[in-house]
């Protein structure tokens, strides 16, 4: 019986396996450390950070939907400094890759964050979230406009030598132009998808169920859409792609890899089953073994159309 090689290299980061936890769904790692052996994860993408602490949206912040959930957390986070002093020491104790997810409201905030995080010991790479409103542009979302995507990604690229993953929004007509803009700006990888924009209404009060009116849809409901977008992006750009969206089981993860993802992130599934990511690692290994693959890289983009 062969021992399949689960490791993947993405933009110079060597992951022991292709399963990462998705930003915002796994806190800063610590929250789940009683439930999950963090050492077994390919990587942890921490809750989205900003230069300063950020208070997020008022509650209610979540609604369950059929096979999914809407969230409007609004990027609440403790800020860069608290992260470095309170959270990184804990994370450094583990043998897993720490990816810092971050955002800004201006291009300057993005690049400043990237500069400041670059010296921090134990950070394997950055994932920039461009699904947030751009204050300079009257609240338009960075990630839906290829020029803005290019601009902000270029600025971050100049600010850091850390491997740079750009996390893309699915709420666009054509993911390939956005993915290309990220590639042109010098990103090392793209990760996708972030949540789909959605909404729910309480018909008794006739009010939105989320205080913020709209929120991001995640969970198995969005998987077919995520898979299609990942496939489109992977066909288009020459960068490694990280697949995200509704991945609950190893089978789901394998679908994304066959569609072209080099790695996956597990989000909402951790709420349902804290151990989901570990089960996915085990399931991928079993699949490779059953199919007699020497390693997961053989799977990547192997879709037969």
């Amino acid at each position: 019986m062969n021992n399949p090689d689960l490791s993947v290299n993405i933009g110079g980061i060597e992951f022991k396996n292709p399963v990462l936890t998705a930003s915002g769904t796994f806190g800063y790692g610590e929250e789940y450390s009683d439930y999950v052996d963090l050492n077994r994860l390919g990587g942890i993408v921490v809750k989205g950070l900003s230069l300063e602490p950020y208070e997020g949206n008022p509650p209610p912040r979540i609604v369950e939907t059929p096979a999914g959930m809407l969230n409007s957390i609004g990027l609440q986070n403790i800020g860069l400094n608290a992260f470095i002093t309170e959270k990184m020491p804990f994370l450094r104790r583990y043998d897993t890759r720490v990816i810092v997810n971050f955002f800004g409201m201006t291009i300057k905030q993005y690049s400043e964050f990237a500069t400041k995080i670059s010296d921090v010991d134990g950070v394997a790479g950055l994932e920039m979230n461009i699904s947030c409103p751009n204050l300079d542009k009257g609240g338009m979302i960075f990630g839906v406009d290829p020029r803005l995507t290019y601009k902000v990604a270029s600025a971050v690229r100049k600010a850091t030598t850390l491997p740079l993953i750009v996390k893309l929004s699915p709420n666009v007509t054509d993911i390939t132009v956005i993915a290309r803009a990220a590639a042109d700006a010098g990103a090392d990888a793209v990760s996708l998808i972030n949540t789909l924009l959605g909404m729910a209404i309480d018909i008794d009060s006739r009010r939105p169920k989320l205080a913020n009116i709209t929120g991001g849809l995640s969970g198995p409901a969005i998987r077919p859409v995520a898979l299609r977008i990942v496939w489109e992006a992977a066909k288009t750009v020459d960068l490694p792609v990280i697949g995200i969206g509704g991945i609950m089981t190893a089978n789901d993860a394998i679908e994304f890899m066959i569609a072209g993802a080099h790695a996956v992130q597990v989000g909402t599934a951790s709420f349902v089953d804290p151990d989901a990511s570990i089960k996915i690692v085990d399931g991928i290994e079993k699949y490779c073994r059953d199919k007699d693959l020497t390693g997961v890289e053989e799977l990547v983009g192997s879709l037969r159309t």
Partner: protein
């Protein structure tokens, strides 16, 4: 902790109210009243998320627990269909429970509807820890309210624990006619200020209870109920706005997580 429990029984107490007893393989130590568990209600993705449920009773020093729940939607309906012998997947015990003063002499408990669920565990613990040997000196008054008599649960159990029980129903079908906080308001006087108050129930009730506690300067702990996704402080769904009592640790946010900072809070802390 993630636990695979076994359902020992699951029975309907009154229409739509069920009590479920879950047995554990290994004893779960140090469960604090007011803590909760997150239950996986099925393998389907609809409903998707776990359901938070207060711990109603600790069975045989942690060999199991009981929960008391009301069927209100898909998830609790699926729970009601579970049967003796089925496995049930839960996370817990979670959150911070009630704080009990070692020699607390008098306690007022205010519960609305299913809000009585975690109060049984609390009362049993008061009996264990309260003033006097076996807490028998701790005087416990329970104010319990509901829409109709069918929403008033556990009265016999409460009396069995030696508590004085005051009942209010909105339709007057049992006890005082009106909301339980009005009954509380009428029953409470300045001299009750030696009490500690504990409350769980709908938001409006908790707010009124808090107002009364503040008026009479009675320390009051309330257990909040917010929609949750993770239950462990990772997702930040379950936040509640708080007054900054202590400055530094939460200086970056006006919010606290009900799942990890609560569900029990000092009533004065909450911004309604």
């Amino acid at each position: 902790m993630q636990i695979s429990g076994k359902i020992l029984y699951n029975k309907e107490l009154s229409p739509d109210y069920f009590r479920m007893r879950i047995g554990f393989q290994d004893v779960v130590k140090d469960i604090i009243p007011g803590q909760f568990i997150m239950i996986r209600v099925g393998d389907t993705h609809d409903p998707l998320l776990r359901r938070p449920m207060g711990i109603h009773k600790v069975v045989e020093d942690g060999k199991g627990i009981e929960i008391l729940y009301q069927v209100v939607g898909k998830g609790t309906f699926l729970m009601s269909e579970m049967r003796r012998g089925d496995r049930i997947d839960l996370l817990g015990p979670l959150g911070n429970g009630f704080k009990i003063d070692h020699d607390m002499e008098r306690a007022i408990i205010v519960a609305g509807g299913i809000g009585i669920a975690p109060m049984m565990a609390l009362i049993e613990e008061i009996k264990r820890q309260g003033a006097g040997e076996k807490g028998q000196k701790t005087k416990i008054k329970v104010f319990i309210g509901g829409k109709t008599r069918r929403d008033i649960l556990c009265v016999d159990d409460l009396k069995g624990l030696g508590a004085d029980v005051y009942i209010a129903t909105e339709d007057g079908s049992l006890g005082y006619k009106g909301v339980v906080t009005d009954l509380l308001k009428e029953s409470i006087t300045e001299k009750d200020s030696g009490f500690t108050m504990f409350s769980c129930g709908p938001n409006a009730m908790l707010k009124s209870t808090t107002d009364i506690a503040l008026r009479y300067n009675i320390p009051c702990q309330i257990s909040l109920d917010k929609r949750m996704a993770c239950g462990v402080g990772a997702c930040l769904s379950c936040v509640v706005k708080v007054e900054s009592l202590s400055p530094t640790p939460i200086s970056y946010s006006p919010y606290k997580c009900v799942c990890t900072d609560g569900p029990v809070f000092n009533a004065v802390e909450i911004v309604w």
